[in-house]
Amino acid sequence: MSFNIIGKKIPKKDAPFKVTGQALYIDDVELPGMLYGKILYSKYPHARILHIDTSKAEKLPGVKAVITAKDFPPHFRIGFMKDNPPLKGTKVLSTRDEIAAVCAISPEIAEEALDLISVEYEVLQGIFDPLVAMREDAPILHEEVGSNILKLPWRLVCGDVEKAKKESAYVVEDTFTTQWVTHCCLATSGCVAYFDVNNNLTMYSNTQIPSLAQNEFLEALTALGLRNRRVRIIQVTIGGGFGSKLDTYPYEYIAILLALKTRKPVKIVFSRDEEFFATSPRQCTITKISQGCDRDGRLTFREVEMILDNGAYTSWGATTPSVMMMPISSLYRVPNVKYTATCVYTNNTYCQAMRGYGNPQATFAIESSLDHLAEESGIDPYDLRIINANEPGEITPQGFRVTTCGLKECIEEVAKRLNWKEKRGRGLKKRGVGIASLIHVGGGARVYKSDGCGTIIKMDDFGKVDVFTGASDIGQGADTVIAQIVAEELGVPVEDVNVIHNDTDICPWDVGVHASRTTFVAGNSALFAAKKIKKKLLEILSKLLEVPPEDVAIKNGIAFSKSDPQKSIPLARALRRIHFTTGGSMLMAEHFYDPQNENLNKEFRGNLSAAYAYGTHGVEVEVDTETGKVKILKYVAAHDVGRAINPLLLEGQIYGGVLQGIGYALSEKMIYDNGYLKNGNFLDYKILTVRDVPPVEIVIIETNEEAGPFGAKGIGEPGLVPTAPAIANAIYDAVGVRIRDLPITPEKVLKALKEKNKG
């Protein structure tokens, strides 16, 4: 199949706007009479609030409203488990707990007013370790729940792990731990809320879930006594999401209440400090894993027990085990699987979705442990992976129906480019190689009741196309990819397709940007809408050209007869002809696409995604054995993407993922000390800089997924999933130490080397 636009390296449509400063971010939104909101956070990680005095703040000139928990309905809670009051009135459970908020005519006055609010606390003993919180004698943080262990019993059992363990020729067991890392979006979180005279709410927002946020804000309005109102979400240019904007946060409800109180637009935009400590990071994990294989290296079982620090409240972080199950049950063929995960309340920050949604944590354990098993069984880690690689047509223990699968090709390609056979196991010059693979959802993921996305499409008198999509563009390039898909289908230039994706008043429903689903789901939705409008178009053109519809082709905005190319008409003229005539018509179409995937059932089984993405990363490192520093000499990332709609954006996703993954593996960590974040700034939070970028080679494997738009599968998240274990495995190959705790800092490597030399 040959394409005109699909597969072309087309630059992002929004790039010129961002580069020239024309893009409008949340901080740029200014409305007449707008006020500025600021939030007072708790001084302590765990305390009773005895008294709040806001009187001085209220008297400060320029202050328009001060609110506390008393201003919200008493039982109003937000979040996945409805355990989080937007303002805390009686008890604080973390240092990011919101106690009061003000709005004023300037941000400086609002800031000053915060200093005038006095809060009397009774400090309570904090719990900062989930293992301590799980003890029977530990104080209960959420009295209404009655336990520090969340009522979320994640448990997947397939086959008979105990039996398989006994029958295995080789068994390994390890414990791995991972750290909190944060998204580091370039644009910080924020919103502007305002009510019209009818008490309908408009929210300027950088959310990545406009439809779900709309629903949640409607619930909030109802709780505030405003029934049957409208909520309109207008998304500004979103300066990065990575999962951080997958939930609604207290600051949004605070802005809503302040706007309602003052009848003015209220803006709350986080400072970089707030972005670090008051948004929700990737959850840290403690993972005990055991795997076994038979004499030939065939995997026999995989058993994983995990403990997650949930933090003080519950956001989507608590549901990441639902995704962790995917690699645990289905990365490589493993017949017997057991997985349990426990989420535990502590007085730490609460966690949220972040690119990969638990998959990086699980894959770090699986792929590190697999190298251990390779050593134990004396099988080359490459061979062990090839022996067990997933294949097309397979149904995994969890019930995933694998359609396309290029895992073997990915592993082979990476090994070839790394020169695996030559380099592995030599430990020459303290250099080593490592590989690790991944599985991820590539055809949406049915985590909500619907995994759908709607598209409305219309053509104007000038042959131009407007596409109204439910998809959100958070920088990943959804607008560009959707424009390409529609342009390809309709035979118009890609510049002629305008994608509108930022307003719930005009765009159809979509479940949100998550699960690497936008190209697959929104892409398919746009494709089917384009097919519908094309059908109408071809009928019209057939009449105008006086040929049968199947003889009509459109290329570059011009329709012509395939059998007699002399017969042609520009689309714009055709569209005007049918418009400006008695009983005229204009072309419009819509489609709601919901993929054929399944919610997990009570046993956590089901075909979660309509397609699965695979990939393998390989890395060559050099370890400085005197300092413990790890240098990446070469990095190869091979991904089965189905089809590359736009290789330029695709490579961008993988580069970005790899770099975020290297930061996760080697340097990034949010350092919490007794509930206080100690490194909430870019100096001490070690996200990589452009100078730290190693050479990255990208290999695109196309398997042409039948269910995907033009054969594409999702690629948003996979780029960072296997990075940490690939690096950890390479370090082991280089110097013989295995670091089981992320990030792999020079200190940890050096300490391990010293211990190894002692022994």
Binding site: T627, N679, L683, K686, T689, E747, L750
Partner: protein, 312 residues
């Protein structure tokens, strides 16, 4: 952030007078530390006196001594071929300082007067026996850089005094220097620990041969040969960053090395001594044991690199 007035004097005298008349004021050069401190509410001066328009402070003078004006930017230093060739440790330091955007505005005077224990230019200037030139109403005074640092973010300078520059004596032939910054990132980072060394050697062997070796061989190949020639160390300087409240000279290690033949053993011993002189702390940015360990490694590497460069 509190409001402040901003003054831009055109000469040192004008600046000194302004300070006297304004009272509540501080000097600002590149502003990469001052502005951060104001925004973080660590300081809240009513007046900022910018030194950026005083051209006399922006010159690198190569006369009898090397004189670097206090408002010379790090980018200016980085591009200076003379500094790269003869004062290589300083070149090493500015190469990894901040980012290009920061180097374009941040000045060497600011870096020294801010007196962070991790200040990148401090250790190189220490190993070059640098003197600080200070102006006040009465005239100019000159003190060794070593005595200028009092503690973290504290220097021996009265309020209102202006550091005008740094005076560095010319180095004898067969001198080489190096600065190694051990950090987690390649840019935009502070050192976990850093070491600068300067050696002046007195080779008693065929110089031309050594030079050829230095030019042709890679560092590691040259290293083993270098140490077998029995070169005598005439003068040694070792300075360490982030191992004490202020940038620190390892005088005991310098004394040990002085007059010794440059051998692997001697270098290792000097590095051990330097490490024992270091008094690092456990902080967010690094643990004490690791810092002490790194002083050893970096000192040895910096000495070797300095020795090699002595023949470049």
């Amino acid at each position: 952030m509190k409001r402040f007035d901003y003054h831009v004097p055109q000469s040192i005298e004008e600046a000194l007078n302004l300070f006297k008349s304004l009272g509540d004021a501080i000097y600002i050069a590149g502003g990469t530390d001052v502005m951060v401190n104001i925004k973080r509410k660590k300081i809240s001066p009513k007046n900022l006196i910018s030194l950026r328009n005083i051209t006399a402070l922006k010159v690198i003078e190569k006369g009898k001594e090397l004189k670097i004006g206090s408002c010379v930017t790090h980018e200016q230093l980085l591009k200076d071929k003379y500094i790269e060739k003869y004062y290589t440790a300083l070149h090493d330091a500015v190469r990894k300082l901040g980012s290009k955007q920061i180097r374009n505005v941040a000045t060497i005077g600011g870096n020294i007067c801010n007196a962070a224990p991790s200040a990148d230019t401090a250790c190189p200037l220490l190993v070059f026996d640098t003197k600080v030139l200070i102006r006040n109403e009465k005239g100019e005074r000159k003190i060794p850089l070593h005595d200028f640092f009092l503690g973290p973010y504290s220097v021996s300078k009265d309020e209102g005094e202006i550091v005008t520059g740094f005076e560095i004596t010319f180095l004898p032939p067969y001198s080489g220097s190096a600065y190694i910054k051990h950090s987690r990132r390649e840019a935009m980072d502070l050192a976990i620990v850093s070491v600068a060394t300067r050696l002046t050697l007195s080779p008693e062997v065929d110089i031309d041969f050594l030079k050829r070796e230095a030019g042709e061989k890679t560092y590691s190949e040259f290293e083993s040969r270098l140490l077998s020639y029995g070169i005598t160390v005439k003068e040694a300087r070792i300075a360490m960053g982030v191992v004490a409240p202020r940038p620190l000279r390892a005088k005991e290690a310098e004394d040990y090395l002085c007059g010794k033949r440059l051998t692997d053993e001697a270098i290792r011993e000097a590095s051990e001594i330097a490490s024992s002189v270091a008094k690092p702390r456990d902080t967010l940015r690094g643990e004490a044991w690791y810092r002490r360990e790194m002083v050893k490694v970096l000192t040895r590497r910096a000495i070797l690199l300095s020795a090699k460069r002595a023949f470049d």
